[in-house]
Symmetry: C2
Subunit: 189 residues, 2 copies
Amino acid sequence: MKQGWECLESKKIFEAGDGRTVFLELYQDRVRTPNGNILTYTKYHASDVVIVVPFIDSQRVLMIKQFRYPVGKVLLEFPAGHVDNDEEPLDAAKRELEEETGYRARKLDYLYRYHPSVGRTKQSVHVFRATGLAKKTVTRHDSGEQISMKTVTIRQLRHLIVKRKVESAGTLIAYLLCCAMKINPRKRR
Amino acid sequence: MKQGWECLESKKIFEAGDGRTVFLELYQDRVRTPNGNILTYTKYHASDVVIVVPFIDSQRVLMIKQFRYPVGKVLLEFPAGHVDNDEEPLDAAKRELEEETGYRARKLDYLYRYHPSVGRTKQSVHVFRATGLAKKTVTRHDSGEQISMKTVTIRQLRHLIVKRKVESAGTLIAYLLCCAMKINPRKRR
């Protein structure tokens, strides 16, 4: 199977961001597939995301509850946020953990990189495990963020998933990697 | 914490679809947060997605390899596709399984519903487990889809995740629910 698709034209339709991060850039591409079909493909670009699983000890993690406007409700999630332009995912993970929870981690392991929506965007989510937590600062939230913290045991989190109470893809995947599979850190980044 | 945000205005910026499904509709909303801030929020709407984990037997699943234009490479995934307008997720799961693999399932269990991107869209992904497979038809792919099938053992799939070779969020979550957690079907839909 010939794999590449040829991009004949890429037109930016829309962009929104705050200078530090790209919220969403929308593109319509004219594309030729290997069998010669010409089609229009709608895709978007957005800054990468980091998600951090902060372990208080081997059995307890720190989670946050926050209102998510697009889904219209409060969700239980791991701390997460955008990677700023020219920022490394590791630095973004440090920053977001501290901003959202007030904790710093002695150790941040880079576990995984995945794509949240492979049919629409090449955006990546980088998953980190944080251990050796120490309370450093008061939390600083971005404008509009309303966040409350919650300590959850791995067993409780498993139970919440069994009851379908965890609705965010990132939090499900972070649970898979850190708790269900106990995956080892990446050697290189 | 007062939770609701008030939408003052919602403006549709862009839409793309094929009549059967919404590829992407982009909105800019003017929103008042509970602390009185007014902000502009970019969100999008897209048709829901179904993802199906087809079990050949207790140890083997059917996967597909296909080129994903936004990420620019061939990914190993479970069969998936959009839910058509006015279609039930269960019917979409049946249809996509047959279209992409040529198999029908005697049993389709509805396992989970999650949101792929809670910061941007209320789009849902519905995860199904298919058992009792029988080859019925030749595959019918949508325009532009290039798909090859692959039989993978649960053990191989686990190994691929450990090696970070599985990059699609949906496939990671489907593995979590069907193989790592062996979650029970939902009683009601």
